[in-house]
């Protein structure tokens, strides 16, 4: 019994039943498949999170974002600048209590280098309904290449709890043809 010492004193020399060995072999092989699947996707898949990141002071990140906003703002919406940066450029999205700044307008099927960082606490970048979810930290500039393949209006929701105004931290992203 599992509640008493093993009935065979030399239990480690008992042979293992075939059905158990078979299952162990299947489970182990499945583990290897799942392990190599992640590596395979880095080569063959199109959805991999970038490993490019830098330490950055919040005010430096804010300056870079402001430079982009000054140059490429096309209109305003509810007090938020809507920025249409050129394809291929570095675009910045600031997370802070409790807003995303600015609103980005991107072009479909064009690549951008998106920078994410927080000015204060941790936030969560959740692009909906695409459902891309990335953690945003203060002091780190996460840089990734994204290529929107659908046009439309998307929501950016904060999905890392960041205090009382957390549920108001919602913004938009536009993708135009």
């Amino acid at each position: 019994m599992a509640l008493t010492p093993p009935s065979e004193r030399i239990w480690w020399k008992e042979p293992i039943a075939k059905i158990e060995l078979t299952w162990i072999a299947i489970a182990f092989s499945w583990g290897l498949i799942m392990f190599f699947m992640m590596i395979y996707w880095h080569g063959a898949g199109e959805q991999n999170l970038s490993n490019e990141a830098y330490r950055i002071k919040p005010e430096v990140f804010a300056e870079r974002a402001q430079a982009m906003i000054d140059e490429y703002t096309v209109r305003e919406e509810e007090g938020f600048p809507v920025v249409h940066p050129p394809p291929g450029s570095d675009v910045y999205l600031i997370a802070r209590l409790w807003m995303w700044w600015p609103i980005l307008e991107l072009e479909k099927d064009q690549s951008y280098r998106l920078h994410l960082s927080s000015m204060d606490w941790q936030h969560g970048f959740s692009l909906q309904p695409v459902n891309i979810n990335i953690q945003v930290h203060p002091g780190y500039d996460l840089v990734m290449t994204i290529k929107p393949d659908q046009a439309g209006e998307f929501g950016i929701i904060c999905n890392e709890y960041c205090g009382l105004g957390h549920h108001q931290m919602v913004s938009k992203m536009y993708v135009v043809e």
Binding site: A2, W11, E14, A17, G31, L49, Q122, Y140, I146
Partner: protein, 564 residues
Amino acid sequence: MASATDFRTCPNTGLKVDLTAERLIKANAVAAIVFLAIGGLFGILVAFTRWPAVHLLPADWFYLALTAHGLDVLLVWIIFFEIALMYFASAVLLGSRLAAPKFAWAGFALMLVGALITNVVVLQGDSSVMFTSYVPMRAAPSFYLGLILFAVGALIGCFVFFGTLVVAKSEQTYQGSIPLVTFGAMTAAIIAVFTIVSGAIILIPTWLWSYGLIANIDPIVYKLVWWGMGHSSQQINVSAHVAVWYAIAALVFGAKPLSEKVSRMAFLMYILFLQLASAHHMLVEPGLSSEWKIFNTSYAMYLAVVGSMVHGMTVPGSIEAAQRKNGFDKGLFEWLRKAPWGNPAFSGMFLSLVMFGFIGGISGVVMGVEQINLIMHNTLYVPGHFHGTVVAGTTLAFMAMTYVLVPLIFRRELILKSWARAQPYVFGIGVAGNSLFMMGAGTLGVSRRHWDITFADAPLPFDYPGAAFLMMGLNGVSAILALLGGLMFVIVIVGSVLAGRKLAPDEKVSLGEVAGTGQAVAGYGSSESIRIPGTAVLVAIFFIAFVLYYFVNWKYLSEIWPMS
């Protein structure tokens, strides 16, 4: 010291039971259930607030209740119960005196004081920082202090457990190797030490930081080390509830492990690899390499997952083998059909086994894939997953074990037996609903830890799909069932402990089909051929579900925007 220890003899097993150990088991189990009740009530407030049609609490109370819910059930209830289990698996199962009972009481007191401090601080309202308390968000200093005291108490409990193993060995209270259940508890205790040390490494500096004595704590380092505690503590649960599965299979059926070697190796995989799980929380963070993420998130090529998959066969397999020996040998599933489904210890244990595997286990592996995490991180899929592991898996297993502890340790007969019979089903179905509907909402993108998914007072609102609202409603309904199941459990157990008929000192307890501790299974096992075709079919169904669900999620991933 040994001479000062009082023992009674268990009429069921003939084991000598150290009365001090028994009192400590009772104290820890009672504290556990009190905090389960408190944490469960906070949980129902959370679920009713997230039900858009009800939207019970205002925002500040919602975040407060969510913080308290996480702390009380994920940490306090489970660790108290695990300490009780450790003392049971060491002192009682080995027939030994408990090492250093005064330290054990001191540990208990520290845990209690720590848990109370943290609860009070959270209720004061300026520490609604969630269970995870990610820096640089700051709680009141005593929030961290309470957690530290609780952890120190738990660490003392682990060392009392190790000490008891040493005492039992040197006083030769048992022959040969320790029982498998004790081995499982030892696995839990070893992981607990790692867990608590991780907690100390991060919580002590954070405590000092909350006073302003340390200027800055890096948020990524905090998360990495904090989850060395946060996730590893869930691995304590896995080891402990797997030990409970084996224990109940033995108590109810007299089941014997198919192979001691295989089951122990599977536990060893937990010790060696489960601590890597901190990476599960770091898959979409800046500053870590993909190599690091892939190795760690897969527990080094999924070796700890292999461990769980092995238990997933050997636990039902040992029950099937025992039942066939006991005469239920017809067809594939007579052993299962004629199992004691009215015995809450068995039904709770078996539901825990099935739901941990199918709901919690599969979703955890899928969510822990480096790339797939992109479509799940911080959505409601995450709480959906861990309600499948920690509630449907661990909590239900611990409830099942409590039905055994009441007669064996508290020496009381259960009251309200019909409630007890129904309880695992009511709670289990409710929790399965919570898990599945939260996972569904998460797949639709709904954020976790969010007060208002209608975004009514946001300047730039967004509309989640209608199906997401349906999922949240169904989650609320499931929470009502889970609440009922939880209340039934607390009423039956507290009522039995306070008012159940006292068992006479020599009165045997019937725990299932096989009276006593099931001497019916004299010997089967690795030395003879094992016939477990029913288990093979169940395992095949599990495996097919696992593979299909895994690749379906790669398909979902391939549909999001290209990114690199």
